[in-house]
Every structure is written in structure tokens, then in C-alpha cells.
Symmetry: D2
Subunit: 180 residues, 4 copies
């Protein structure tokens, strides 16, 4: 199962990078093939869904191959970052009938919960299946040690539940897509 | 496949009843086993998730048996009707890993689009899979003839797409649930 | 300034009652005329916006008189309680150009944040002004002492900010309505 | 009253430009001082709220001066365009206590209704007042003649209602801000 981790912000000093790297590690430990898809590498400046840009073609290949997606994203003013939306809007059919799990990141205590809701609705329109399980990373600036390890061990249980659910859907939908 | 049609309003004079009956007919024609679940028959007056009420038990049985749900609901002030929410909140585990398709109903031209978005988010929290396909029934007061037939034939194509997608998910998820 | 506190759930054993009573107290201390509007006293069983019910007429009078609203509500499955929505849908013009402040309540750590977003959109359609400031009451079951006092003192600062903003809007809009 | 019109997409071939120019014209006719704020002129590539970029400073000046905002934006996959979000996230305090009116644009029949809901929630977090009135521009590709005039005259009534409401709030809040 190939389920890449999308890092949803290109902001200088982004804290979500720590979360994305940590989730990538956890996904690998759970037996998934994964890699980071960084919005910084897929920047276009304007919405472009023509798939004529080199970065669109690269994204198209990755999403086509994917059995699901993990998105790690901060919340900016209760919504998703512009660079994440611009990247997601680059392709369309590639997302069809694949699950999406969202990890919200915030400096405050709500872990990006409002952004998660908005992004789920975008995910449905992209023909994806947004899973219920979510990991809300609150107070992210204090959450990781220097080596990138998470200080609050309670996250492990939540991440396991999140990955289990994502993998259940990834398998179920992959099988059904292949039998079509 | 048993996929009941929920009628999401108990309002006197409700127009959505015509839509629900029409969708029930279309679901049957598509080979689904179905029936109407009418909020009028599951009224509780207050939110109650204890499953001790007779109507909760009846709902629990129906949703347990279901392979998916169709909800036909009007939009009231950009949200879902209170009676629909109260009924949905009666049970929980019964919804797990089943698809939900929503038909929005409105007197205006937007077909309940805003309500659909809110209800999708509730559906995700109920562990359901809200499908992308939606049928927006606009200007409902002028849409049906006396016999309950739909005057605008373009709806048939949309309903077919909607039911096809719902059935695809119902089958895929049923199979995966059974193989657990 | 008359700004009542709506208690948005009728559920047996509701924790939000403590929050609503606490907010009523705080509103009074801030100089507001207030009172509790309890969904239990405005139950109708079905959505009814005809304003022919005695409880609709009572609600109409209260909302007409109000210079703004505080809603204290739990989150049920990421949405608002059915009884709250049913009550809000009873009247319409009475809400026009008045501010609404929402306090979310949850047993978990997100304080009803997802419900707040949905309710804000309903508020806009009701022609109200949803203010940015919100008080999220998390882990409500542990938050109050036996006398109804709040154990976590950090809430006082947030409540002050919330009430200040609500009062600012209540005054600004009242004045503008009167000058029409 | 200075209320600029934000054009929310930089996409090549954007249809929303016609709507934005039309709304600019209508705003001027209604007596407003206005101008187009085009996302193409405020592109940054990544979210940046440091206000150190020249385009951030320019935006800051314009929003500071504004008594309200009109946003004309298409809907992409049920959400707002990335370039619009990135631009809005550039500044913050400048938006405080000013009304925002949103015009949705779509090639389909729902006029961007889902995007409008998401953008309203962002607007609230930016401390703005999203007004209820909205103009949904559906089937935009067929809506304007070669001279930029609108073919469907029923829009004029909706635009008047929209501008009237926006101006009411702009005046009420300006006055209240000045009296602080």
C-alpha cells in the first residue's frame, strides 16, 4: 500500500513539517510505503488544472499510484493554506475512490479542527473518502523534542487508530477498484 | 442490498415527501431493497442516545441491517432540520463504514446545497462515507406532477449517477466488513 | 441591553446547563439584562415556522426584544442539537441585524469547535452577525465545582473578551437599527 | 465609503473577471468608491503573514482604508481558490469589524454556494462580518454579452439587495469604530 504524506504549507518556519515527518515515520512503521509530498515542490502561483505543468504531471503520477492520502496541514484563519488548495486542485480523476486522512496542526488548543472540516468537504468533491479518525496536533511548538520525537505519548494511540482506519479503507477500496 | 430512504422533515405540508417517495421508487427500480424511514415515526422531542426508547430500538434495527442510506432533506436556514438531527443522533455504531447519499430539497434554486455540506460532516462523524454524487432538487414545489412523476427529465441521469455511486460503495464496504 | 442566553440542548443529564447558568451570571455581572431561554420550554416536536404555536409566539417576543444572543450548546456528532435547530427555525425576522455569540461545550478537548462553525452559518442565514470570539468549554464534566463555579480561572479572560465583543456589536447595531 | 472588489482567482481564462468588473461597475453606480484588487497583483507563492513583502504592504494599505469588502470568487472543488486564501492570510488586524459580501461564481447551477459557506467562516475568523445577502452567478460562461453587460436582468434586483445590505453594515460599523 502506497499512502504518501502531503505537507500542506510552504510557509517559512512551518511547524507542520515536524508533524509530517513524524507521521511519515509512523506510516512506515505501520508497514505502509510512503513519502513526503511537499507543497514547496509543487508550487504554481495560480490555480491550474490543465495538467500541462511539469509539477502537475509529477503530482498526477504520485496520486494515480496512491492507495490513499495523509494530509498534514496547519489551519490559517479557520481554513486550509492557499498552497495546499492550489496543489490539490491541480489534478482530479487521480483521487477517485481513495481514502483521505487529515492531521490538523495548530499553535492553539483546537488542533486545526475547523480546517479539517473544510478540507473534508473538498476531499468529498475530489471523490475521496474522508475518514472519521483525525489526529489533532495542538500546541505544536512544544510537542516535539530536538530529535523529532513526540513528547506526549498519548498521541501514539490516536495515530494507531487513525492509521488502522485509513488502511482499512485503503484496502477495501483498492480491492473494489481492481474488481471493476 | 437494503438501502432505506430517510425523509428528513416532519414539517406539516413538507414538499420533501414527494422527493422521498420518488427516490424510493427509483431505488427499487435500480434493484435495491428499500423503504421509507420517516422522521415522523421516530420523534423523541429531545436528543436521546441511550437507545432505551422504542423508536430508538426500531431505528437501531433498521440502520444495523442497512448497507447504506439515502437521506432526502430540505434545507432550513442553511442547515438540516432539527427532527432529522435528533433522529440521526439516536444511534451510532450502527452507521459504521456504510455509505450515505444525500438529496437536497429547496424551494429556491440551490437545491439545499448548504445543508448537504453540513450533513456530510455529521455523516463522517457517524463513521459513514458521504458520497460525492448528490441530487439537488430545486424549485420542488413545481417539480412533480399530480401522480408523483418528475416533470424535468434531466433528473433521471443525475439519479442514475447518484445510485450507481452509492451502490458501488455499498457493495465495496459490505464486502470488506464481512471479510473482517 | 437585553441579551438572553439560549441553552441549546434538552437532553436528560445535559452538562451544558452548568455552562449556560455560569454564562448568565457572567452576562449579568457585565451589566447585561439577561435570562435563560431553555429549549425544553420551546419544544415543538417538528419544525414549525408558522408562529401559530404558543411557544413560537413567546420566542418571537423574546427575540424581538433582544439586542443580541448568546447560545450555549453542546456538539452532537459535529453538529448542533436537533432541539436547538428546531427552536431557532421557529422565527426569522426577529433575528435581523443582531449579533450572536456562541459558546461550545464538549466532553472532549475541542470544545464543540465543529458545531460552532455550523451554527455560525445558520446564524448568518438568520440575518445575524456571528462574532469571532467564542468560548470553547472542553471537558465540561470536570470544569465546575458543586456551587457552579468554574475551576479553571483562565476562562474569565476569554469570557470577558467574548462579552466585550458581543456588547460592542450589540450597541453598534442597535444604534444603526434605531436610526433607520 | 471605500469598498473594493476582490477578484479571487488568477487562473488563466478566468470567467470571474467579468463578474468582478460588472460588480465594480454596479458598486460605483451605487455611489461607492471602489477598485479591483486582483489576486494576480498580490501573488506570493507561499503563505506569508509577516507583512514584509511589498505586495503585503500594498494590501495592508488598501484593506486598512476599506470600509468593507466585496469578494468575487469562483468555486474550485467546493472550496475557495488557493490564491485568494493566500492573499487574505497576508494581513489580519486590517479587516477588523468591517462587513464582507461574497459573490460566488460557477459554471454549473449552484453559483459557488459551497465555497461561499467556507469563505464566510474564514471571514469571521478575520474579524469581519459576512452579510447574509449573496449573489450566486451560475452558468457564468453564458451570462455576459460582449460588452460586459449581464444578459439576465433578474440579477439587478439581487445585486441591489446585496449592495444595500453591505452598505448598511459598512455605515453602521464605520460609525461605531470611529466612536470608540
Amino acid at each position: 500500500m502506497y499512502i504518501p504524506v502531503i505537507l500542506g504549507t510552504s510557509r517559512k518556519g512551518r511547524q507542520s513539517e515536524k508533524v509530517a515527518k513524524f507521521m511519515l515515520q509512523q506510516a512506515s512503521k505501520a508497514g505502509l510505503e510512503s513519502e513526503l509530498i511537499d507543497t514547496r515542490d509543487f508550487s504554481s502561483g495560480v490555480t491550474d488544472s490543465t495538467k500541462t505543468l511539469p509539477q502537475s504531471q509529477k503530482l498526477s503520477e504520485k496520486i494515480s499510484k496512491a492507495d490513499g492520502l495523509i494530509i498534514v496541514s496547519p489551519e490559517y484563519n479557520h481554513g486550509y493554506p492557499g498552497e495546499l488548495k492550489m496543489m490539490l486542485d491541480m489534478v482530479y480523476e487521480e483521487y477517485r475512490r481513495k481514502p483521505i486522512g487529515i492531521c490538523g496542526v495548530s499553535a492553539g488548543s483546537l488542533g486545526g479542527a475547523q480546517m479539517v472540516e473544510q478540507l473534508r468537504l473538498v476531499g468529498i468533491e475530489l471523490q475521496m473518502v474522508p475518514i472519521r479518525e483525525t489526529v489533532y496536533f495542538s500546541q505544536v511548538q512544544n510537542l516535539f523534542d530536538e530529535g523529532g520525537g513526540i513528547k506526549d505519548e498519548s498521541y501514539y494511540g490516536r495515530i494507531k487508530k487513525f492509521l488502522d482506519e485509513l488502511i482499512w479503507y485503503a484496502k477495501a477500496l483498492k480491492k473494489a477498484r481492481e474488481e471493476e
